[in-house]
């Protein structure tokens, strides 16, 4: 929707909310927003969530393509989306990488694809399901993690007592034959809309043994809860609010967007710790943040958090917690404030000079560059 706003207006909106745009920030190098493609597949699924860049060509996966999944079905019911699309940035052509069945053996509650999605270097796609049968959490199931091969065929389904509502964008440490996934769980103890907030959300670390493409399915070597007691709440409008963004720094610190508390927290030694760090250490709170959702890491090491309650992306220095800049990438004034509820997933481009993001209000994939 950025395209409906003139550049001048966009700038005015941005400046109004961001008195100081740090000159050396990553966001200060991003000036243009290009509408790439519609994310509605043939079956009519809506509400794009996860945005992931494919790191390797394998089967139907092509390096550099952008995968997007949908959380809603064609009736716009949340928790019933089953599709993953692939967009070729060179042509902007979109194909359907996978259409999953609504019900999958071993996935309690069915399939409703979330922001939790990763593509491994050996050509496997891992995607989370937080399913519903009526579009609300009144009928939610725990869901699962679904592993697809490069052809988009289900290779494995992961569920268990430590998996309930895999929700936020995954952080990944991928060495090929070994991979570590971090995924937030926003389903524990979540009931029907109207229920009070509960502090039962977790972050689960999964260590995987990954075979070569076409040689079976990844096996789980270890599963460790590295964060817990994070806030989560059923919501009539947006299904569930909980930890939605994960980003792993090279030093092993895991950053988590704590949406309800309107902050970003840090989980130290996330790749090696043997127990939970609880809710971690608060890194940055309030300020320009308005319900932070997905997180990405800019090439300068800063965190990029997309806001759920306006159309801004906020850049945070994780060392100091200082909020360096914000850019109103979705200034759609059909919402108040502009862009509220529109943003969700975010992913850096392969050249790390821009980022892909989705606009949920019009089912679009866009490029900021």
């Amino acid at each position: 929707m950025a395209s409906v706003i003139s550049a001048a207006l966009l700038a005015a909106l941005t400046l109004a909310a961001t008195p100081a745009l740090a000159a050396d920030s990553f966001l200060s190098t991003v000036h243009r927003h290009t509408m790439l493609a519609s994310t509605v597949p043939a079956n009519g699924d809506q509400n794009p969530y996860a945005v992931v860049v494919v790191p390797v060509s394998s089967g139907k996966l092509h390096r550099g393509d952008v995968l997007v999944d949908n959380f809603n079905d064609r009736s716009n019911l949340q928790g019933l989306g089953t599709t993953i699309l692939a967009m070729d940035p060179a042509t902007r052509g979109v194909s359907t990488f996978a259409t999953l069945p609504r019900h999958l053996a071993g996935c309690p509650g069915g399939v409703g694809l979330t922001t939790a999605m990763a593509v491994l270097r050996r050509g496997y796609v891992v995607v989370g399901s937080l399913p519903s049968s009526d579009g609300t959490t009144a009928t939610k199931g725990p869901g699962c993690l679904i592993v697809l091969d490069g052809q988009g065929t289900v290779a494995a389904v992961l569920a268990g007592a430590d998996i309930d509502g895999p929700w936020g964008n995954m952080a990944v440490q991928d060495a090929g034959a070994r991979a570590t996934l971090f995924v937030s769980m926003a389903g524990f103890g979540v009931g029907a809309p109207g229920q009070a907030m509960v502090r039962r959300a977790t972050v689960l670390r999964l260590a995987l043994d990954v075979p070569a493409a076409g040689a079976g399915a990844p096996a789980v070597l270890g599963r460790t809860v590295v964060a817990d007691s994070l806030a989560e709440q059923a919501d009539r409008s947006v299904f569930v609010i909980g930890p939605t963004g994960l980003a792993l720094a090279p030093d092993g610190t895991l950053y988590v967007s704590d949406a309800i508390e309107n902050r970003v927290v840090a989980i130290p030694d996330a790749t090696t710790r043997t127990g939970s760090a609880g809710t971690g250490r608060s890194v940055s709170a309030g300020g320009l943040l308005r319900r932070p959702l997905a997180l990405a890491q800019a090439p300068n090491g800063d965190l990029l958090a997309v806001n759920g309650l306006d159309g801004e992306v906020v850049e945070i220095d994780p060392a100091t917690g200082r909020q360096l800049a914000a850019q109103w990438v979705d200034a759609d004034r059909a919402q108040t404030p502009p862009g509220s509820g529109d943003l969700f997933g975010i992913a850096l481009t392969p050249d790390r000079r821009g980022f892909y993001y989705v606009e949920d209000e019009n089912n679009m994939l866009l490029l900021a560059h």
Binding site: V4, Q46, A334
Partner: protein, 445 residues
């Protein structure tokens, strides 16, 4: 929508000419009718002499297509329940006769006032009402020809290629109970009771042969007024359906002017013989999120539509009928009419010259619980009101489907609009003889 660019309709000049002709006809019938309004000493505008106008039922084209827009409509769709071809033809004959009578301001069938022991052949709810320019327009849906791959009534081989099922469009929320149908009957009149009376009588005549599937009423602000009427969004709607001027679109590649009825509306030599002089109608019930719209800043509404709200002028222009300049840019090089503005996406210049005749109405079905489809996904009892979009064209594949395929993806209006029902119907040419019936060419092909 304001300047909703779906095609081009009856011109004001054309309307006035037609009105002159019809007024003469109306005057003749008025001479034999009592002047009830004067007798009662009350002459509300709704009972003015315009209500005495009639629209001839017979003609090469069916009435209700090129006819100047009446103020009210009842759009109905029927399922044919019989498998008896002869019974269907008989119904079409009876529908034709009744429609001919009602268009002339008569009851659907002669009333036998001497015998009140039986149901009357007309409900009587239009007794004493003027004809009010009633038109009754019939159409045949794809499912009349074939259903689940099976031929119906021996008609499959006569199904026009242009009567292909509409594709699924992005965001479609079509409800089966409001969608499709074997036969459409649209009654239009300047009096809502006259329009409803017509479809009600026709439905009653169909018992045992066809059953009502869905019905949608609609209204427009006084269509005969000199100003372009405003729709429920508060924007002038129909600017590019020329009323007083011939609007044009300007682009770098040249100027586009409205096509003729033969170019745009009437099925031609490429259509089966029974469809020549006919047209294909697409109806869509479009729920508009008026609560959402009313909370939207006016200048953003104007960006969504691509026109100024008060004047109806294209963005950056001063008056309603200024040409739509799709190439205009501001000092930063951004388009003055945004890329996803409704008028741009619907403009012929944006669609390879595709046009259609738009003949839409607003609708208001009260209020009910709904979950909005856009952030912040408000859920509440909201107005069930919007647009009964209706367009006519010689080939919907080249017009509506081509235009709406892009609109359904990119139109900024999509944040406020949900298509909840509708249908596609082939409206054959009109009845030209006293003993002819609607669709005769199809059934005798």
């Amino acid at each position: 929508m304001g300047g909703c660019p779906f095609g081009h309709g009856a011109s004001r000049r054309g309307f006035l000419a037609a009105a002159g002709t019809l007024l003469a006809a109306g005057a003749a019938s008025a001479a034999s009718s009592p002047d009830m309004s004067a007798a009662k000493g009350v002459t509300p505008a709704s009972q003015g002499e315009g209500r005495l106008l009639t629209v001839p039922f017979e003609g090469r084209h069916q009435a209700g297509i090129a006819t100047a827009l009446q103020n009210h409509t009842c759009f109905t769709a029927f399922d044919v329940t019989t498998t008896d071809r002869a019974a269907l033809i008989d119904l079409l004959r009876r529908w034709t006769a009744a429609s001919r009578r009602m268009a002339a301001g008569q009851t659907a069938a002669p009333l036998d006032e001497a015998d009140l022991s039986r149901p009357a052949p007309d409900g009587g709810d239009a007794l004493g009402l003027a004809p009010a320019r009633l038109s009754v327009t019939f159409g045949f849906g794809p499912s009349l020809f074939e259903q689940n791959g099976h031929d119906r009534f021996g008609l499959a081989r006569h199904r026009p290629a242009a009567l292909a099922e509409l594709p699924n469009f992005h965001g479609d929320q079509l409800q089966p109970a409001r969608t499709g149908g074997d036969v459409s009957i649209q009654a239009c009149a300047d009096d809502p009771q006259v329009a409803f009376h017509a479809v009600r009588q026709l439905a009653q005549m169909a018992y045992g042969v066809a059953a009502l599937r869905w019905m949608q009423t609609g209204f427009v602000a006084n269509a005969a007024a000199t100003d372009t009427p405003r729709n429920l969004l508060g924007f002038k709607d129909g600017t590019q359906n020329p009323i007083a001027a011939q609007p044009v679109e300007q682009t770098a590649s040249g100027t586009i002017t409205p096509g003729s009825y033969d170019d745009v509306v009437w099925a031609g030599a490429d259509a089966p013989a029974w469809m020549r002089g006919g047209s294909y109608v697409v109806a869509r019930r479009i729920r508009l999120s008026l609560e959402h719209w009313d909370r939207t800043p006016v200048d953003f509404q104007e960006q969504v539509i691509g026109r100024h709200k008060r004047s109806g002028a294209p963005l950056g222009k001063d008056s309603e009928f200024d040409p739509l300049d799709l190439d205009a840019v501001d000092h930063d090089g951004n388009p003055v009419i945004p890329d996803n503005a409704h008028v741009r996406l619907g403009a012929a210049a944006s669609n390879g010259g595709a046009q259609m005749l738009r003949r839409s109405y607003s609708y208001n079905d009260g209020a009910n619980f709904t979950a909005e489809r856009w952030p912040p996904w408000r859920q509440a009892v909201e107005w069930d009101a919007g647009l009964l979009f209706i367009c006519y064209q010689r080939d919907p594949r080249a017009s509506f489907s081509r235009i709406f395929e892009r609109m359904s993806k990119f139109d900024a209006m999509n944040q406020y609009a949900t298509h909840t029902g509708g249908g596609l119907f082939a409206c054959p040419g009109g009845v030209t003889t006293a003993d002819g019936y609607i669709g005769q060419g199809l059934f005798e092909a």
